[in-house]
């Protein structure tokens, strides 16, 4: 039995379609949603959470059509976690118990459940702290506990770790892997490592359309994106984000903080034999480690600490006389770096 079934679901905000004819069946296995910002990931999740109503098409939850009268019940079975956690006035316990109180639980049961939930997210003893004074990572863990305490059938997560440090992100990913055996998890994320660890199936959203779906290790778009996809921690300096991805630091023009995955299209990279003076903010040097000829183009692997795939025409490849093992420079503009 499918948990969710979306038939030709579209969503218009004014003129721009946020989603366009989505057909998707979600079984109980964890699903990842990847795609750039603005691709429609949040809208898709909010429709499934019963927080938005599609302008066209049908949504089914466990083979029942989601009609307006059914939405309150849907909301009690499906809980969503937002990118930036939001809290109600009061301490952590107040926030954790809110949903339980709405469901008419006894105080004793609420007390026991809040303690268990805090233990689950490794925040035992945090119950009486002001939720809004916690660190970003702690806040997101409380938000996760607040959702899990309700024992939802489906947990929807909208980029839950995109603003977090690696330690907190990893704690959350571990909890999600553990929870995926108990409930259906649907996670939208920019973090490809996370999607591979959590999800069994992935859809790729592009401009409100599902362009691909499949196993996270086989998905073409992920394969395509594993070409020149680098995940690291970003910090902003003088309006330029510096993303440290291990051996090298990539500069990107969009201000990003936290853990991000970046992509540079192979055709946006320039290859040169020596250092060139250029406006491109990114320039690295390393040997050619692979050459793959395709029709009319050549894909070159350059290892500058990370392996970049560079696409050049066959003609420039011949004219430059590039050889395997030869050290070259690669350069690309900060604005050519895309955030996944």
């Amino acid at each position: 039995m499918s948990v969710f079934k979306l038939v030709d679901v579209s969503m218009d905000f004014g003129e721009n379609p946020a989603l366009n004819g989505i057909n998707l069946e979600i079984q109980s296995e964890p699903l990842g949603i990847i795609g750039k910002s603005g691709a429609g990931k949040t809208t898709l999740l909010k429709i499934m959470a019963g927080l938005l109503t599609q302008t066209k098409g049908n949504l089914e939850f466990k083979e029942s059509m989601v009609v307006p009268q059914f939405i309150p019940e849907l909301r009690r079975k499906v809980t969503m976690i937002f990118q930036s956690p939001l809290f109600l006035r009061g301490d952590v316990n107040t926030n954790l118990s809110y949903g339980l109180r709405l469901r008419g639980n006894a105080e004793e049961k609420i007390k026991k459940k809040t303690e268990d939930a805090l233990e689950l997210v490794s925040l035992t003893g945090y119950g009486e702290r002001d939720a809004r004074s916690l660190s970003g990572g702690e806040q997101q863990r409380v938000a996760l506990a607040r959702a899990l305490i309700l024992d939802p059938e489906v947990l929807l997560l909208d980029e839950p770790t995109s603003n977090l440090d690696p330690v907190n992100a990893s704690i959350i990913t571990d909890i999600l892997i553990q929870e995926s055996t108990k409930r259906t998890i649907v996670i939208a994320t920019h973090d490809l490592d996370q999607v591979k660890r959590v999800a069994k199936r992935v859809i790729f959203l592009e401009d409100g359309v599902i362009t691909e779906e499949g196993d996270p290790y086989e998905l073409d778009s992920i394969q395509r994106f594993t070409e020149n996809v680098f995940t690291g921690i970003s910090s902003v300096e003088e309006g330029v984000s510096q993303v440290s991805v291990g051996e090298i630091t990539i500069r990107t023009s969009t201000p990003l903080t936290g853990r991000v995955s970046l992509h540079v299209r192979p055709q946006d990279i320039i290859i040169s034999k020596g250092w060139i003076e250029t406006s491109a903010r990114n320039q690295f040097r390393g040997p050619i480690t692979g050459v793959n000829e395709r029709i009319g183009i050549v894909m070159i692997d350059v290892d500058v600490g990370k392996v970049f795939k560079v696409q050049i025409t066959r003609r420039s490849f011949n004219e430059m006389g590039l050889k395997l093992g030869e050290p070259v420079n690669i350069s690309f503009k900060a604005s050519s770096v895309l955030q996944l």
Binding site: K46, L51, M80, F82, L88, R89, L102, L150
Partner: protein, 261 residues
Amino acid sequence: MAQSALRSTGTSPATYTINNHHTSFDLKMSWQAISEGISEALRLILTIDRTVIEITFRSLTIASLATLLSTLIGLPLSLVITMKEFPGKNTLKFIFNSLVGIPTVTLGLFLYTLLSRSGPLGSMELLYTVRGIALGQAILILPITVSFIISAIESKDEELRDLTRTLGASELETSIAVLREAYSGVSLALVSSFNRAFAELGIATMLGANISGLTRVLTTAIALETSKGELGLSFALSFILLLVVLFLNYVIRLLQGGLDS
């Protein structure tokens, strides 16, 4: 309405003759009159003068009734306006915003014609009653209650509503949660509404006519006693009015402190 005219006698710039159809007398304006007024005021307050107590109590009662009525209508109305989408929503909000500053005498005049014996609502016999003044002031402060509550609720964004909904709240429970989050702004709305009702003169005069022992309130009594030259009672009542208004402003400040935190 008493017809009064102020005319300079020309002998001294500080000396005026006040003419109205009851009395005609000279009023010497000097510091002496003010200091006498203040000491008389203190005596009246300290001896707990019955008239002063009665008038103050009536003012508080009427403003409380007006605020209660305005809240009973304004709170659900604000919730509907903020939570629901409907055509003309922005126009409605604009109207309420504009009516915040409606002149009290203008509204008083409208209500007077409506409530007067020969008026369309004359049969309700609300003119020259406490209930009548309270009703008039409730109408006066309704725009304040509604506008302030709307802006308090709107300061809490849509994400808060999404959060409570996804945690299983019904629309009503979501509204209650939003009101609780906007608590300081909502209290501010109610205190401001009370303040305006308590300190206004136009409606109390038009609908109450300042009848001693019946509809006399602080503001109308101050106006009358001053025109009679009874500065002592005027000052006493003014001090009480000021004290209550200052106290309310102090409450507002405390609430805004809550807003900031």
